[in-house]
Amino acid sequence: MQEITREALLSRAAELFRDGTVDRALGWRAGEFDYDVTPGVFTSAEELENGFVWNDFCGANFSKYLIRETGLTEKKVLVFLKPCDTYSFNQLLTEHRFARDKVYAVGVPCAGMADVKLLRDRFDGVTSVEGAEGGVLVHTLYDGDVTLPQAELLPDRCRNCKSKKHVAYDELLGSDGEVLDSHRFDEVEQLERMTPDERFAFWQNELSRCIRCNACRDVCPACTCEKCVFDNPASGAANKAPSSSFEEQMFHIIRAFHVAGRCTDCGECSRVCPQHIPLHLLNRKFIRDIDRFYGEYQAGAEVGSRAPIVDYTEGDIEPGEAVEGGARHA
């Protein structure tokens, strides 16, 4: 259950359209089912009234869409931002990807989203999901109606939520939270404690499922290059070779590397992966290493902060030490 209701968001959006502050809005659009929510652009209050939803499946982070929409608007773009989205918002501002004065950002508190995969794994024929006393009420075709605590449906990124605090907004609906002391690196550390052979087997198992759909790249708020290295047909990662593992590893290493230091750990990559590859574990490895080697750094926490990978100090760790010492056991 979310703190703010759909009606509260709608009425505020209608006011902003009416007083001429905004001429378009980025919001979550209803799909066929409750859990089929997609990002959408709305150009009037009526459109919002008809298509806008706000429920436990509104995971999409709109920050990246602002790049395009701010170029199209004549006034401002209304955008709803959950706490984790605000980090991406700040990061894109740091990189000068859109004009701040073209955006009207409304902060929305988030109680954590629901993971569609967990829901589908657990129930057969889910028809609708609604907030209920004591959690979430799931209506299904074959398993009846079940009420369960929301915590049981949280995806990894929400179970290990890093912050309930909005770091950027023009206006906040509801209450603001705090930066949390999350356990988001536990899984990374668990992998680091394995032997190299076990790690290789783990990643082969995960990455070999990759179908090279590029959804992780397309959704990533840090991946905003107009021309991407992976759009080059000669990149060697453009197609799936059944005979070897190399292109999977290359694609995923380079994808994660290109956002190292800029990744805010919003978890969108893992959310959209149709093959359910835990891509956030690659990004978190870079975040973890950056924290260990160069000091704690949260991308997007402040506008204008300098990413560690485009910075240096004279006493930095040597690449040889980095693998033998620091990374293995903190």
Partner: protein, 144 residues
């Protein structure tokens, strides 16, 4: 069938200003190092994109070594500081994916260190030879 001794293929990225000159000095001084090392000259060690390293493995390298000026001595003042950060993160990531960490190395070799260049290459070739063929980052499409 004749059994041939296994020879690793090593790609060495050497910066134009220090390490490449260091390799030259090693040659001038008649210091030997294995012919398995193929040197690629780059303007600065920070010219080396992480993709270059992966690409070398894809095309059949068994080990990749990156040589640059000592930190503080970069011809472009700060290039190798960025190299150092990038490679620390990249190598750590390769290790995380279970790829043998002994296959990659960064070494700082100045233009006056011909002996260090030869010793480094001897050591690295022996290290990679002990690991054997690169299987974890190979691309069968590129195999001849």
């Amino acid at each position: 069938m004749q059994v041939t001794e296994y020879k690793p293929l090593i790609v060495a990225f050497c910066c134009n200003w220090c390490s490449y000159a260091g390799a030259d000095l090693a040659g001038n001084n008649r210091l030997s190092y294995p012919a398995d090392v193929k040197i690629i000259r780059v303007p600065c060690s920070c010219r080396v994109n992480p993709m270059f390293i992966l690409r070398a493995f894809q095309r059949g390298a068994d080990g990749v070594i990156l040589c640059g000026c000592h930190p503080g001595d970069c011809h472009y003042t700060t290039g190798n500081y960025y190299t150092r950060r990038r490679m620390a993160l990249l190598f750590s990531m390769l290790d995380y994916l279970g790829i043998e960490r002994e296959r990659t190395r960064v070494e700082w070799v100045s233009a006056a260190e011909g002996a260090k260049f030869a010793a480094t290459m001897n050591d690295f070739v022996a290290q990679v030879a002990a690991l054997g063929e690169n299987k974890r980052l190979e691309d069968l499409r590129c195999k001849k």
